[in-house]
């Protein structure tokens, strides 16, 4: 396959068109969009009412900066919910990308139709993420209304959306890998949800426990456990300057905290934690996509592969073999 064809497949992948067409013709697509926006909007209104109620009782929202606090609170709540929703939607969309092709017996035909494993994985990943990004984009008007209250600057808004998008991409890539690894969509979906939960909520809770444990043994500013620096929940909380474990990490301390936690260095370039998270998620996407391609190529038998090396039960039965690439 020459490089021009490969390049064309990056931008004009027929699988993206086909999957997009198929998906958008189903009632599930508008249903998912409606559910997503409904949950996000409903939750935003709920938080707004609570914040306005709390502010009204204390008379806080009429004071200077009161609306900004309300805006910040609503935006934070919605951004966190959006992160949670993309983590829920991504496995649902991507975990069946390849296993469903196998189940409906279209994978073989696809693999002999000039579609390379790389092109297949890329097309499936883009098709899955495109739908999640559609959800994120569709929610932008909801977020835009929060700007009326103030309390959120554009940089925070943009970084929050970027972090949401890369988290969606990472969750989709992990789900896609499971989709290649497992023959059954049900199994790959369960594994994808388990991995996404472990990689987000699991590592965050573990990180909090480890940080609290470390903080109890020392005085002064608590060092965040390095595990939390790779966690999108923690990165989002820090972008939105939400206090975690009783402290808000000041911007000036973030980069130092990062490097102290990682390598014991004191002086470090100004790297924000969200950058580490985005970089880690990008690496995860590349690793998962590469593993998926190698599995599809069938050239790297992996000892941990859950695809059994199929052998006939009786002489004469011909198992489905891995494709040659």
């Amino acid at each position: 396959m020459d490089w021009r064809r490969s390049l064309r497949r990056v931008f004009l992948n027929p699988l993206v068109t086909k999957d997009g067409l198929s998906r958008m013709r189903s009632w599930r697509a508008p249903g998912a969009i409606a559910l997503y926006l409904g949950l996000l909007g409903g939750f935003g209104v709920l938080v707004l009412r609570v914040a306005l109620g709390a502010g009204g009782q204390s008379g806080g929202y009429t004071q200077s900066g009161g609306y900004a606090q309300i805006g910040s609170a609503v935006f934070t709540a919605m951004a966190m919910l959006q992160l949670a929703l993309v983590c829920l939607f991504s496995p649902a969309v991507a975990a069946g990308a390849v296993s469903a092709e196998r189940e409906r017996q279209t994978l073989d035909v696809l693999l002999v139709s000039g579609v390379s494993p790389l092109s297949l994985v890329w097309g499936k990943l883009v098709a899955s993420v495109a739908f999640i990004l559609l959800l994120v984009v569709a929610a932008q008007p909801l977020f835009a209304t929060i700007f009326l209250f103030g309390g959120i600057d554009f940089q925070q808004f943009a970084i929050a959306q970027l972090l949401t998008a890369t988290t969606a991409l990472a969750a989709a890539a992990v789900s896609l890998l499971f989709s290649v690894l497992f023959r059954r969509t049900l199994l790959s979906t369960v594994a994808a949800y388990a991995a996404t939960f472990a990689g987000t909520v699991g590592t965050w809770v573990l990180g909090v426990i480890l940080t609290i444990g470390a903080a109890s043994q020392r005085t002064g500013f608590p060092e965040l456990n390095p595990l939390m620096l790779f966690n999108p929940i923690q990165a989002m909380l820090m972008i939105l300057q939400v206090p975690v474990i009783g402290v808000t990490v000041p911007a000036a301390r973030r980069s130092t905290t990062l490097y102290t936690g990682l390598a014991g260095l004191v002086v470090a370039p100004p790297v924000e934690p969200w950058m580490v998270t985005v970089a880690a998620e990008s690496v995860l996407v590349i690793l998962c996509a590469a593993a998926a391609v190698l599995l599809l190529r069938g050239q790297r038998p992996m000892p941990w592969s859950l695809e059994p090396r199929v052998e006939p039960v009786h002489p004469g039965v011909e198992p489905q073999d891995q494709p040659v690439r």
Binding site: K18, L21, S113, V324
Partner: protein, 320 residues
């Protein structure tokens, strides 16, 4: 056009292909015949670049399947025995999608889809969603899909399986039409009469080895080399038939004699001159009313070549 040499494939302890050799000349319809589990599907999957051989070589139009799979995919159209279709795509979009996979430019894709739907007689269903088509229509659509990049070679694995008689005839006519268009076609099947009628070359595979291969006429000639004779005696009772059977059985070159439906059936070797046997019976006083060589058929050959006892586990297996 297709050259397979010493092809080997093993699944665990089971040797699926054991030094498989055959060639398919250009423009022929090659019937790949064998019982379930003989290695047909494995061979076709290797030729289609979906499986890797453990040894030997296979070339299609001069391109080695294990060295240049994309080169092979450009010249091969593959139709598997079991396949699915995408839901929420109509027949035209289905073909256009595969056209895009083969890098056909958009305007050509549309034209090719239209022409192929016409070829497989699905123009009237062009806008119907593919999952609503009947089994026969899906088979024809899948064949059209295999033709979307105008391949020189078609690999059809059990193309008529699960079809009703009408759909089978339509599929057969379609395959003949494709041959007229210059395609080289390899069809696997375990339905002998279907291949006998359609194919110009025959290859019989059993337990991973080719046991007979060549032009259909040559294969059938070889099938009749050791022929069977049917001998009817006028007004003969059981005693008379038994006496005639005993006399026929004394001849060198007669392999077996049995009484079937009031007549004798004798299996004779290629060296026996049948007319001398007839003269001997007449001179011995038997009133020979019928003395007919039974026509050799591909079915006979298939049964003879693949007739070894099989392990009990094979009896209910599907696929080939």
């Amino acid at each position: 056009m297709i050259a397979v040499e010493g092809l080997r494939k093993r699944f665990g302890r089971h040797l699926a292909l054991d030094d498989l050799d055959f060639v398919v000349p250009e423009g022929e319809i090659f019937g790949f015949l064998g019982p379930n589990g003989a290695g047909k599907t494995t061979t076709i999957r290797i030729l289609a670049t979906l499986a890797r051989p453990d040894g030997g070589s296979a070339r299609i139009a001069g391109v080695a399947v294990d060295r240049d799979p994309y080169g092979v995919q450009r010249v091969v159209g593959y139709m598997p025995d079991f396949f699915g279709v995408y839901d929420r795509l109509n027949a035209t979009e289905y073909l256009e999608f595969y056209g895009a996979c083969h890098d056909l430019p958009a305007p050509r894709r549309r034209r090719v889809a239209r022409e192929l739907l016409e070829l497989v007689d699905l123009t009237a269903r062009a806008s119907d969603q593919v999952d609503t088509l009947s089994r026969g229509m899906k088979q024809r659509l899948c064949l059209a899909r295999a033709l979307v990049h105008n391949p020189q070679v078609l690999l059809l694995d059990e193309p008529a399986s699960g079809l009703d008689p009408r759909a089978r005839i339509e599929m057969r006519d379609l395959i003949r039409e494709l041959r007229r268009m210059g395609k080289t076609i390899l069809i696997s099947s375990h339905i002998v009469p279907e291949l006998e009628e359609l194919c110009t070359w025959i290859g019989v595979i059993d337990r991973g080895r080719v046991v007979e291969v060549g032009p259909k006429a040559d294969v059938l000639r070889r099938a009749t080399a050791g022929q069977r004779l049917r001998i009817a005696l006028a007004g003969a009772g059981d005693d008379r038939l038994a006496a005639a059977a005993a006399r026929v059985g004394t001849w060198t070159g007669v392999l077996d004699v049995e009484v079937v439906d009031g007549c004798l059936e004798a299996a004779i070797g290629p060296d026996l001159a049948a007319h001398r046997l007839l003269r001997d019976l007449v001179e011995a006083g038997f009133d020979v009313a019928e003395f007919t060589p039974l026509a050799g058929s591909l079915s006979d050959l298939f049964m003879r070549l693949t007739g070894d006892p099989e392990p009990p586990a094979r009896a209910n297996e599907e696929g080939g």
